[in-house]
Symmetry: D2
Subunit: 135 residues, 4 copies
């Protein structure tokens, strides 16, 4: 495994909430981050879909990672917006984020979240936000 | 306890993810919803603050509740945006949502999230979004 | 007229686009800004309503003003989101912005835009965004 | 010129505000829309850049067009968010919008706005929003 992905995985392992959710960092390179979350019972809402809060967690965290990949590790998500387009059902979700713009202290990034069932991906949400370097 | 709040609490209890997080519905009336989440270890990120994903979960869920309070119970959050303004530290967070506009099928709502320490509240995030009736 | 409002009006008069639109700054104090735009033919869309672009201009500019009122004059709007809730019809629109949070370099602000007809106001849009100090 | 683009140009010509701004529809197909606005004096702000309100107008209108391309002509922009990443300077701006998701009544779309100088494009803003069918 490459060094950058390994470092990213260590950061995720240090986030108790990400451990609780069972998130896994599956891709991390300059300008790209990919995060997976399994669809399991305790992450659902009352209709059996993955809770929207889990989908937005995945988007938010993937955005922070991709922002960090272009700005350096000390970053936070300042703001983001998310559009939910389909209920998240399936085996797991995968959030793929990319950097649209990187300045000295801020990056504007996007993230698509897919629900995956039997290896077939369906878009379930899309997000856009600002990642800021902590000075 | 009034009937509306009781019904709201039952819905929350039926969301496994909300149970996992330990969220509590503390206010629910037409045009208003309030949700509390305790700041506990397993909800934190690597610097000891409450994970942003928990803050956005609280905002998202409070927005859905308040949308439901004006549109009827069968609703989803279609989209929202959130600005994080301070790290969430303290004893718990409280998300307070209100409806800015309610049409026949959609409501536009806002939510402020406060971190509370020794009963002192500090704004940690603010959100705005669209709640849609499921037909 | 107080000094702050007068200064704000001078800035608006120096913006050719605001002059083209016919915008007027009607309130400007620390943490508050109010901007009016007349509903006139050349600002409309094909159905006779004020063009959404004029509504978002008013929200964006009021947000910048209120951000400047708490951060100092050299600011830009970094990002904002707007929800349109009703077509803008009437005599004029008024955008009222307030600061929700002000840090050293950024402020998070909100703006409600009302359409006014025969002195009766109806909410037509609501916005939230980040204003950033230019260093 | 193809029929769809011609129809789109007629709609734009029927929007007095788009005529005032001098916008031109330069691309229109299912899932794609492109709008150009010249950088001229009366569209600027006080520092000589194109006013943010013009950039957001272009994004908003391109989003509406692309939403209409997948949902049918009777649509409105319900909400959008925009991140400004660079001041818009140059000869003109071009807003390119695509549909990320199209349902029966709503589409989620994205738009990148570029400033063009001597045929060189620089991203100046990026937007994401919801377009809704009018029933």
């Amino acid at each position: 495994m490459d060094e950058m992905l390994m470092m990213g995985k260590q950061v995720l392992a240090a986030q108790p909430f990400s451990v609780l959710i069972g998130a896994e960092l599956t891709g991390f390179a300059v300008g790209f981050a990919e995060l997976k979350v399994p669809v399991k019972h305790e992450l659902k809402q009352q209709h059996g879909f993955l809770h929207g809060g889990v989908v937005s967690y995945a988007a938010d965290n993937a955005l922070t990672y991709v922002g960090g990949s272009v700005l350096g590790p000390a970053v936070v998500t300042s703001e983001f917006k998310i559009n939910y387009v389909r209920p998240a059902v399936g085996d797991y979700i995968v959030a793929r984020a990319s950097a649209v713009y990187a300045g000295k202290t801020q990056a504007v990034c996007r993230c698509d979240v897919y629900a995956v069932k039997d290896q077939k991906e369906s878009l379930c949400a899309t997000a856009q936000g600002t990642i800021t370097k902590i000075s």
